[in-house]
Amino acid sequence: MAKLRVVHYINQFFAQIGGEEKADYPAELRVGEVVGPGMALMQKFGDEAEIVATVVCGDSYFNENLDKATADILEMVASQKPDVFVAGPAFNAGRYGVACGTIAAAVQEKLGIPAVTGMYVENPGADMFKTKVYIVSTKNSAAGMRDAVAKLAPLALKLGKGEPIGASVEEGYIPNGVRVNFFEKERGSARAVKMLIKKLAGKPFETEFPMPVFDRVAPNPAVKDMAHAKIALVTSGGIVPKGNPDHIESSSASHYGEYDITGVMDLTADTFETAHGGYDPVYANADADRVLPVDVLRDMEKEGKIGSLHHLYYATVGNGTAVASAKKFAAEFAQKLKADGVDAVILTST
C-alpha cells in the first residue's frame, strides 16, 4: 500500500527561524521538506505515511492576516493533495494554538481532508476548536514533544485511513462533546470503588461523565445616561416576522434571526409571531409584544426615557436550560451590537 501523504503545519519557532521577533514570517510552503517536529512524526509514521510538505507560518502573521493566511495556506495544502493534515503540536503557545486550530478546522471543512492538531488543554485554541477537529492533549511545553507525537502520529494515521476513531481516553484527544463507547480494562463497579477511595482520600479523580459546567461573567457597569442610551432587544422567545422568513427552527437553537424594526411601533398578530416550539404559542402569536416589548420601548423612546431603540433585534429559540449551542451565535451577534454602538441590552426569555 502506498504511504499516506501528510502535510504538516508549524510556526516560525518550531521551524527554527526565530522567536517572537520573527513571528511576522509569512506563510511558506516547503515541498519535500520535513522540519522540526516533523522529524519525530516521520519516525512514528514508519512506512505508513510520509510528510510530503511542510507549511511554515509566523504566529503573528497568521493571526493578524487571518483571512489571507488561511486562504493562502489552504491553497498550499490543496496543492499537495494530502490524505491527512497535521498542525503543531502547539503546547501552551496561545497564538500558535489558535493558528493550528483555525487552519486544521479550515482544511477539514473547506478541503474535506481530515486534520488533527495537538495542544495543552488550557491553550485558548483548545476550547475554541475541540469540537471542530481532533486535538491531541499535550503537556504545557515542548518538553512534552515525545508524548505529544506518540499520540498525534497514530491518530493522524487513523484519520488518514478513514478508520473509526475511538473514545477520547483511548486516542488521547481532548474530549469534544461526542460520547464514544469503548471497553475499559476493569468493570464499572471496580472503577467506582477506586474512584470512591480516591475521593474519600481527597486525591484527584476523573469522572467519566463531566456534568455540564456553568461559568460566570462579571457584570458590566451600569448605564449612566439612559436618556441618551441606545437600547437593543434580544429574545430567546423566537419572535420573528410573520411567516418566519429565516426558517428559524422551533426547537434547535442552531441559528438566529436578525430583524429590522425601523418604523415598527407595535407588534401585531398580522406582523409578528413566534417560531419557538417550547411553549404554547397562542399568547405570543396574538401579541408578540408579550415577549418582545417593542410597543413600550417605542413609547419610552418618544418620551425621551431612553435615547433610542436599536433598529435591529435578534431572536433565537431555546428554553432556558439548553444553552450550549446558543453560545456561539450569541457571541457573534453580541459583537454586532457592540459595533452598532448599542449601550445596553434587554434580553427576554420565555
Partner: protein, 77 residues
C-alpha cells in the same frame, strides 16, 4: 446567551419567568416576568392594563440596567 452579551462588554438585563434558570445561565441583572408563554403580558387583562403592566416591567429592566451590581441580582420589587 445572556453571558455572551455580557462578555462582549454590554450591560444586559435578563427578563425571565423562572429566575433560578436565569441564575443558572449566568445572568447578572434579572427581572422576573409574568409567565412563560407571555413573560411581558397577561392575556387576562384589558389591553391597556396589559400594556401598563408591560411598561412597569420594562421600567424595572431599565432601572436594573442603571444599577451597579456586584454579582447576580434579582430585581423583584
Amino acid at each position: 446567551m445572556v453571558k455572551e452579551v455580557e462578555r462582549a462588554g454590554l450591560p444586559v438585563v435578563h427578563m425571565c419567568t423562572v429566575t433560578p434558570i436565569s441564575m443558572t445561565v449566568g445572568a447578572n441583572r434579572i427581572v422576573p416576568t409574568i409567565a412563560i408563554p407571555h413573560p411581558l403580558g397577561n392575556p387576562a387583562l384589558e389591553p391597556t392594563e396589559e400594556k401598563a403592566l408591560r411598561r412597569k416591567l420594562v421600567e424595572k429592566a431599565l432601572t436594573a440596567l442603571q444599577t451597579e451590581v456586584d454579582g447576580q441580582t434579582v430585581f423583584d420589587n
